[in-house]
């Protein structure tokens, strides 16, 4: 078992005391990439529109100017080709960062990202690893319709050999991205387009956040809410509403779902005896169902109720704004789940 497990389970809740510099989520991701590219010449960025256009979502703004065209590489619209190419280059020792304009488009690159990257080390008996980061927008919420609104963690977390990072704050995005780039295994880094403009305190200077370390976002004694990525913010909002009703929620932000910080979750649920898992992918065979199963296994005696789950509805993502909001795991659904889990419905 890794040292992660021996860490004290709970850290202080995120406090913004002393917070001065606030930057956007996208700037935090860029800072991480730039710092790592300055530090290690093997790191390069490639993807559609990342260089001359400054990135479809301006995450890579200015990077071409600093690093030049050899290290910030515009590609044609060939997700399968450039993903495979980047993997080949990683096998030879480079450390690529591949930007998917949207993770939805990674589906046409399913073979390289699922069949090559996560299996190379194993199939080669440990000879060829694949230190690569795939990153881009994930999740619904921008009225982009079914094809552009994938939460790919639902599919991809099923695959052994990948690490999956889903940050919810700019500070986490930076620290986790730096860790991802230095990691020797393939990392899927899922950003939310809805969060890219979110501002938050990001410390100046270098820091890293390890994988498999959840962050405690709110302390509480009545119910544990577990989530990752954008829905964490809905959970915090719901927790405020529920607090007024006398339900004191603990909110855990897993930050990475592979590896999964189970000890933190288990310790919390053993304390609260109630758990709600909030996951924006579809419910069937999802990271949320996995976490719920793990909680049932490890907290069987302590639970006062079954683990409740909130997901996106089990339908293709609708376009209409009201429908889409209803479809997503939203504050109302989270509140209902917590009330039910704690018998206050």
């Amino acid at each position: 078992m890794s040292a992660v497990m021996s860490n004290p389970l709970f850290r202080e809740p995120l406090s913004m005391a002393g917070a001065e510099r606030e930057i956007e989520f996208r700037d935090a991701v860029r800072e991480a990439m730039c710092e790592e590219m300055r530090r290690d010449k093997r790191v390069y960025l490639l993807g559609e529109e990342v260089a001359q256009y400054d990135g479809a979502y301006k995450v890579s703004k200015g990077m071409l100017a600093e690093f030049g065209a050899a290290r910030v590489v515009d590609t044609p619209i060939s997700e399968s080709g450039f993903s495979g190419m980047a993997i080949g280059s990683a096998m030879l020792g480079l450390r690529p960062i591949v930007e998917f304009m949207s993770w939805s488009f990674s589906l046409v690159a399913a073979d390289p990202i699922l069949n090559n990257a996560p299996k190379m080390l194993y199939m080669s008996g440990g000879q060829f690893g694949c230190p690569i980061v795939f990153r881009g927008n994930d999740g619904a919420g921008g009225q982009l319709g079914s094809t552009h609104s994938w939460s790919v963690e639902g599919l991809f977390s099923n695959v052994p050999g990948v690490k999956i990072v889903i940050p919810s704050t700019p500070a986490d995005a930076k620290g986790l991205m730096k860790t991802a780039i230095r990691d020797d295994d393939p990392v899927f880094f899922l950003e939310s387009e809805r969060l890219l403009s979110m501002k938050g305190h990001v410390p100046e200077g270098e820091y890293l956040i390890p994988f498999g370390h959840a962050a405690l976002r709110r302390q509480g004694k009545d119910c544990t809410i577990c989530s990752w990525g954008r829905p964490v913010h809905f959970c915090l909002e719901a927790a405020e509403i529920l607090a007024k009703e006398g339900i004191d929620c603990e909110v855990i932000d897993l930050r990475t779902i592979r590896p999964l910080d189970l000890p933190t979750v288990v310790a919390s649920v053993r304390k609260t005896s109630a758990a709600v898992v909030v996951d924006q992918s579809w419910s069937f065979a999802s990271p949320g169902s996995e976490l719920a199963a793990q909680i049932h296994r490890h907290c069987f005696d302590e639970l006062d109720n079954f683990v409740h789950r909130v997901h996106s509805d089990d339908v293709p993502t609708p376009y209409a704004v009201a429908l889409e909001q209803e479809y997503l795991p939203n504050v109302r659904k989270i509140c209902e789940a917590v009330r039910s889990a704690t018998y206050r419905a």
Binding site: A3, V73, G88, P112, A171, T179, Y207, P210
Partner: protein
């Protein structure tokens, strides 16, 4: 334009008697050509023993033998330098042996044993050999072509960004004529053309993808290089049944790619003598057609050349064959004797480090991260690549 129906790749008739006499008629030193002959025999013998072992159920899964195509891998590898990366498809035993993998490690991999090149975790279709710069056999048709572009991307990047200089390495990406129809191949060619990648896509055009004759699956099948012409690739059509032609033409092409840092495509005309895999009744082609191509056996062609040049005689051939048979017999014995891969290997090599290389947060205290200092597990920042 309607494609002409070509029953088979047009392979030149056995170019034997015309080759002149004396060792000086060979384009390479006699000892080198003799070495190639030995390797071709080794591959042939290895594959024959694989087929036997498959019947004996020592080898499982899918198994695709290279018999008939030996000149391609041997000639191509000979034309390259050891540091040039190579990636190929699932019909990969010949490439592995030609690249220098020991027949023991290769056979033990076939048998799924701990002594295999990938400890029995890859199998017949997935031969990897880091010391010999073999970046795998790959089981998904066409998937290795973007990887080949990536290997070239990395060598070019290494030279330009990390070491500062001009590309010194050329990558080879082998594929079958069936793989030509995979989308990934077009993306790979386009990227290679755009980014000036020194990679050669070698289409081992044996005329069939499983039971589908090339003209049934591929437009313009009489002129496969047109697929690369669309992306500005340099091209060559090579007689893959003659190792001397393969060497000569590949060497010239590789030199050009090295010099110009540009990609190329090769229509390597060849024929697979056996079925697609171990369970192929070969109903899609006639025995006459097979006999015609078998009369153009690349090994016999080379033997005749060497005999005419006065460097091979019956005694030398017999001793070479004896040596090769002994080597493969030893490989099989070694594979049989090698430990089955232990269950403890099951969970190894899934990740380099499952929890990552960092054991603690380096977030500042006030952000709740600094329960312990950031710890590094590995040194990095090394110069150059593998």
């Amino acid at each position: 334009m309607k494609d002409p129906i070509v029953p088979m790749p047009q392979v030149a008739p056995p170019a034997v008697a015309t080759a002149g006499t004396g060792a000086s008629s060979l384009p390479v030193p006699a000892s080198t050509a003799m070495q190639w002959l030995r390797t071709m025999h080794l591959v042939r013998e290895f594959e024959v023993r694989c087929m036997q072992s498959y019947q004996e159920k020592k080898i499982g899964g899918f198994c695709h033998v290279y018999i008939g195509q030996e000149a391609v891998a041997v000639g191509c590898v000979a034309a390259m330098q050891p540091q040039d990366p190579i990636v190929t498809a699932y019909r990969d035993h010949g490439h592995a042996l030609a690249r220098g993998m020991s027949s023991r490690a290769c056979m033990a991999e076939m048998f799924g044993r701990a002594g295999g090149c990938a400890k029995g975790k890859g199998g017949s279709m997935h031969m990897f050999d880091r010391p010999n710069n073999l970046f795998g056999g790959h089981g998904i048709v066409g998937a290795q072509t973007p990887l080949g572009a990536g290997l070239a991307f990395a060598t070019k990047y290494e030279d330009e960004v990390i070491l500062g200089g001009k590309s010194r390495r050329v990558s080879l990406s082998f594929l079958g004529d069936g793989a030509v129809n995979q989308g990934a191949f077009y993306e790979a060619q386009n990227l290679a053309g755009l980014l000036d990648l020194p990679v050669i896509f070698i289409i081992e055009n044996n005329g069939y993808s499983m039971g589908t004759a090339i003209h049934r699956g591929t437009t313009m099948s009489h002129d496969i290089c047109i697929k690369g012409r669309a992306h500005g690739l340099r091209e060559a059509t090579i007689d893959g049944m003659d190792v001397l032609s393969v060497y000569r033409d590949m060497k010239a092409l590789a030199d050009w790619c090295r010099e110009h840092s540009r990609p190329a495509i090769v229509d390597m005309k060849c024929y697979r003598f056996k079925g697609h895999s171990m369970s192929d009744p070969r109903k899609y082609r006639t025995r006459e057609e097979e006999a015609h191509h078998e009369s153009n056996d690349p090994i016999i062609t080379l033997e005749r050349r060497l005999t005419n040049a006065g460097v091979l005689d019956e005694a030398r051939l017999a001793s070479m064959l004896k040596e090769v048979r002994e080597e493969v017999r030893d490989a099989v014995a070694h594979a049989n004797a090698s430990e089955p891969t232990s269950a403890s290997e099951l969970y190894r090599d899934v990740f380099v480090e499952p929890w990552g290389r960092y054991t603690g947060s380096s977030l500042p205290d006030y952000m709740g991260g600094a329960t312990n200092a950031c710890t590094f597990r590995a040194t990095d920042g090394k110069e150059g690549l593998v």
